[in-house]
Structures are given as structure tokens and as C-alpha cells.
Symmetry: C2
Subunit: 351 residues, 2 copies
């Protein structure tokens, strides 16, 4: 359990209550441990990812993360920022496969800024490559040119094997769903993504049951707004995935509901809400814990193989929504507004 | 006039009719010339940007471009693709400032996939850097690693002066509008954009009347969906600008209406619709010529200093919409569907 910053501690605390209950109910024998990451770790140790945290994370079957970052640490140099804690976990554990579902809960349909007919029943899975691309590419930095001008630079790089392994995860995911995979790139401009496209085409031969299509990233950003239900699974690189998964999440209007999983090839995984640390509402007890609770469910399913326990949590969350309970972010007329803790308690009660 | 590919020739032809009429009406003394670019140029000369086209473009005060690209040329190597014609024009003429308005026409409000209250009155200006960043960064390509694996790579690079000049354009634009500028970056991960952010902060000192804010690109992609009217002017780099400007355009539901301008420091400019070459409907006479006609208006305003003539075209387009005339892409109940040519004729009549 790595609560992190902002609303992280509050939402992880509720999730821990839920996981403790599930642990008893299903006799799972799970053991929980806690660690520092992000700004909280910087304040305590000077490092966004202390060695002790990384060591424990490596020895765990799964990690539940709240969120990292906040204005307090925004002026630190890049290498010492909270985000480096998150990025360090991703890369050190080789969590290359980031699964981000964008699902519209029927109970929350009105929260979307899109017309109901455009988003009702929305269920997209975004598969984002998470340990490569421009996030980790070398060389990177800011240098001084002759004449004294500054120049900033980053490198967008993928090797064939990196693309193949994320591609396989995406094809497998599509196979489990509606059999449609859209690979997003900028193959008309960027060589690295032209290579990406060719590798996806090559992989497609092994998945004749999956229908592969390609889309340029600018068009994908448009199509998500225009007609998001055309998508089943989307696969893309780290940077485009960052942008498109947040856009897709926001189509639902309830990003406070959306979990995510980041897996390595041993199915060890890190689970976190799609939303961030929301420093503006931290400590007020009003944050929505459901995305983190649902991340706990994903953890049970993907890393711990406890499908039944995962389903029980998801059913409990659905029940609570049916009861009309809402945190402030998803509040609407006629519903009952509850605090972070009350929402956690309601899920416990539903369990 | 560079019609290009797909629907390009059809929509440029209608715009030429309109510009000819305006030329007479306002006695502007404009002279028009024509050239090949993109796939059309490849078919004729083997090159996406023939020397003759570039030479003429350089000697022109302004360029009106239709669109480039299509499946016919999709399998050519990167250096010989239609897109290189467009990118070559941008870089050779140093058209670094791309202005992309996202405006919701009240007559077309129902075309948006967003709820009316979210988008009514929407009027955002996206200022995209167009001749730098990862689009043009070196080194780039695909190499074979030891062991035989392929590796693709591109470079995201900006110099201080490149950021400063686009920043100034954006601050000036904000000053002309509601005085709010949002600079979009990924300063928490990419060094080049952390530099971008610092330079924007520095420029802000020269524009005390403009309120500068910063936003991460993933959040911007979300906020555009959630509450687009919070934005006035957005400034960002080439790649993020490509994605966000298309997303913003699609919020209106009528991308067939949106023009764009690409300017250099001498106000020489290239003008084109925000939409692409739409190969699927090319040659059918059903494309919407209004984005290109409105690009002609922007051309009169920004490069030729003919504000009155520009306003006349914009008023004529508005009139035609009031009359209920619609091409297929913006058709709705109770309106009258017209062809590309009929739409051009209607604008002429309104003039
Ligand atoms: C906090 C940040 C480094 C991170 C990212 O860009 O990957 C976040 O936006 C995310 O999507 O998980
Ligand atoms: C055609 C393509 C190269 C171009 C770009 O990516 O800049 C287009 O998408 C645009 O936005 O003008």
C-alpha cells in the first residue's frame, strides 16, 4: 500500500478497509504492508522512491497506489519530483502494460458532458505502453547552445521487442472482449510510430480472430469525442496513451470511478485510480474512493487470481451507486451526498 | 492555390470562386496562381513538394491549401509521402505560428456530441508551434540494434528562441481576445517542456495584462471534454497542438467549418481547413467547402490586411447557414442538404 500524496492517504485508507473485509470473507490470506512514495517520501527521506519502498514493492505480489504529486513539490528539479517515484516503480518493476478501462456506469450517465446517446453503454479498454517511449528515452535534458541559447530535448524511442510485448497484451485483451483492436500512432510523421504500425500488422497474423485497425493520434483524439463507442480496445505508446486515456476517462464524466492496472510479464502489478492527487481537495474528506476501491478489485483479478473476490467488490460498488450514494464529484439532483469515509463504509456494508 | 488531394480540389475550387468575387467587389488586385503538392504532386512529378511549387509559394503573399494525403500513397517511404509536401512548405517558409480557432457556430450547435450547455458559445484559439518539436527533430529513423532487433527513434527538441517566438504570438493573441492564455506541456516528465514552461513564465512579465496558466497535456485533453469554455487561448508545441487542436475542433461537431492559418514572422501565411483530405468522399461533390472558404477569409485578414473583405466572407457564410443550407457533414432535421458546388454558389449569392 503506497498512499502517496494529496487525497492518496484518504482513498487508500477506505480501500484498505474494503480489502481487509474481503480478505476475511474470502479467506484470502493477503498480507498488507505500507510504504512511502512521491512527495510524502520526499518530505520524510529526501527521495521520491526510497530504496526501502522499492525493495518492498519488488517483494509484493501487487501494489496499491493512491496518487503522487502536488504544488508543494512542483519546483523541485525533475529528478527529485514526486512523479519520479511513480515512474521509478513502473520502470524498476517493468510494469510495461497499463490497462485503463473507460466505462460509463449507467447510474452516472448524466455526469458526462457528452450527449447520453453518444456515451451510453461506453466500455473502452486503453492499453498503454508504460515503461518506454519518450517517458524514459535517452538522451534528454536542457543544454546551452553556442551563443548561449538554451535547448531542451527528449527522445521518443521504442525497440521492436517493447512494441511486440505490449502489442500481445492488447491483442489478448481484444480477444477477451469484442475482438476489435485500434492501434494509435503518428505513422505519417514519426518514424518510431511507423515502426510501431508495422509490428502491429505483423502481430495481427497471430490473432486472426482480432480485427486490427490503425488510427493517427490526432484523429483518435477527435473520434473519442465524436463517436467513442466505435472503440473496443485501443493500444498506443506511453505519451499518446497518457493523453488519450485521460480524454477517454473524462468522456464518462466520472473519472473518480475509474481504476487502472499496470502489469509486468509475471502479472505482478501496480493498481491505482486514473485520477490524480487532487491537492485542492486533499484532507477534506470529500474525495471519491471508488476508483481506488475498484483498483483493488482489479488487483484481485489480475495479480492475485481472485476473480470471485474482485467481482464481489465490483458488485458492492454498483449496489452503493444504486442506493443513490454519491461523493461530491459525481453528485447530482436527488442523490445523497456522502463523504470519503461514508462511501467506504457503504461499500463495506454492501459487502 | 494548392488544391492537393482527396476533396482538396473540390473545396479549393469553391473558395477560388468566392475569392474571385471578393477580388472584384473590393478591388483588391489579388493575383492567383496554382501549384501541385502532396499526392497530386507525387503522381505528376515524383515529389510531394516540387521545386516549382516551393518557389512559387515563397514568392506569394499567401497560400491557400486544400488538403494532402490518402491511402493511395500510404505505403510510400516516409520521405516521399504527401505529408512531406505540407511539412516542407511549413518549414521552408518558416510558418511557425499555427492559429486554429475552435468556434461553435450557433446555427450548428446541435451537431456537437457534447451537451449544449457545455459548448454553446465556445470560442477557443489554439496557437500551435508548427516548425519545430518532434515533427522536425533530429536524429530520427529506424536502426538495427546488435542482435538484429529494430529500434525506432525521434527527437523532441526546442530551442529557447523557438519557444519565445511562438509564445509572443500567443500572448499577443490573448491580448486581442479575453486576456487568458493557457500553456500546455508535460513539464513533470519531459525536460524540453519544463524549459517551455519556464520561458512562458519569463515572457509573461512582458504581458502583465494577460493571465497565464499552465496545464499538463493529459489534463488539457480532459478539460477540453469536461469544460471547454474555461479556455481562451491555448499555446503548445507541435505534437500536442496537433492532438489538442483536433480534439477542440471536434467539440464543435462541425470540423468541416473550421479554418486555420500558419504564419511566419513576415505575416506570410498558409491557410487551410482543419479537416483532412477525406479520401472516402473525394470526387462525390458532397464535401463541405466552408472551412476552406473561411480559411480564405483568414488569409485576407492576416496576410493581406483586408479586414473588410474578410468580414464580408464570414458574414456571407453566416447568412448561408441562417438560410438553412447544409452539406452532408453538418446536415440536420429540417435543413436543406446541398452539394459542395451549391454551397459555394450560395456563398457567392450571399456576397
Ligand atoms: C503523474 C504522471 C507522471 C503520470 C504520467 O504521465 O504517466 C500520470 O499522468 C499518469 O497518467 O499516470
Ligand atoms: C497531415 C499531417 C502531417 C498534419 C500534422 O500532423 O501536422 C495534420 O494532421 C495537421 O494537423 O495539419
Amino acid at each position: 500500500m503506497l498512499p502517496g500524496d494529496g487525497i492518496g492517504p484518504e482513498i487508500v485508507a477506505e480501500t484498505e478497509k474494503v480489502l481487509n473485509r474481503i480478505n476475511e470473507q474470502f479467506d484470502l490470506g493477503l498480507q498488507f504492508d505500507h510504504g512511502l512514495v512521491g512527495g510524502a517520501a520526499i518530505d520524510e527521506t529526501g527521495e521520491p522512491l526510497p530504496g526501502k519502498t522499492l525493495e518492498r514493492a519488488k517483494k509484493s505480489d501487487a501494489i496499491l497506489l493512491g496518487a503522487v504529486g502536488g504544488p508543494k513539490w512542483d519546483n523541485l528539479e525533475m529528478a527529485k519530483r514526486p512523479e519520479k517515484g511513480l515512474l521509478g516503480l513502473r520502470s524498476n518493476l517493468e510494469l510495461f502494460a497499463n490497462l485503463r478501462p473507460a466505462i460509463l456506469y449507467p447510474q452516472l450517465a448524466s455526469a458526462s458532458s457528452l450527449k447520453p446517446e453518444v456515451v451510453s453503454g461506453l466500455d473502452i479498454m486503453i492499453v498503454r505502453e508504460l515503461t518506454g517511449g519518450i517517458y524514459f528515452g535517452q538522451p534528454r535534458g536542457v543544454r546551452t547552445l553556442e551563443g548561449g541559447e538554451l535547448q531542451g530535448f527528449n527522445t521518443y524511442v521504442y525497440s521492436e521487442s517493447e512494441v511486440r510485448r505490449i502489442g500481445r497484451v492488447a491483442f489478448e485483451a481484444a480477444r477477451q472482449r469484442d475482438g476489435k483492436l485500434c492501434s494509435v500512432d503518428k505513422a505519417n510523421v514519426l518514424e518510431v510510430t511507423a515502426m510501431w504500425r508495422e509490428i502491429m500488422d505483423d502481430l495481427a497474423k497471430d490473432y486472426p480472430d482480432v480485427e486490427l485497425s490503425h488510427m493517427y493520434v490526432d484523429n483518435a483524439a477527435m473520434q473519442l469525442v465524436r463517436a467513442p463507442k466505435q472503440f473496443d480496445v485501443i493500444v498506443t505508446g506511453n505519451m499518446f496513451g497518457d493523453i488519450l486515456s485521460d480524454e477517454a476517462a473524462m468522456l464518462t464524466g466520472s473519472i473518480g470511478m475509474l481504476p487502472s492496472a499496470s502489469l509486468n510479464s509475471e502479472k505482478q502489478g501496480m493498481y491505482e485510480p486514473c485520477h490524480g492527487s487532487a491537492p485542492d481537495i486533499a484532507g477534506q474528506g470529500i474525495a471519491n474512493p471508488l476508483a481506488t476501491i475498484l483498483s483493488g478489485a482489479m488487483m484481485l483479478r489480475y495479480s492475485l487470481g481472485e476473480e470471485k473476490a474482485a467481482g464481489a467488490i465490483e458488485a458492492a460498488v454498483s449496489r452503493v451507486l444504486d442506493q443513490g450514494l454519491r461523493t461530491a464529484d459525481i453528485m447530482s439532483d436527488g442523490m445523497q451526498q456522502v463523504s470519503t469515509r461514508e462511501m467506504g463504509d457503504a461499500v463495506l456494508a454492501a459487502l
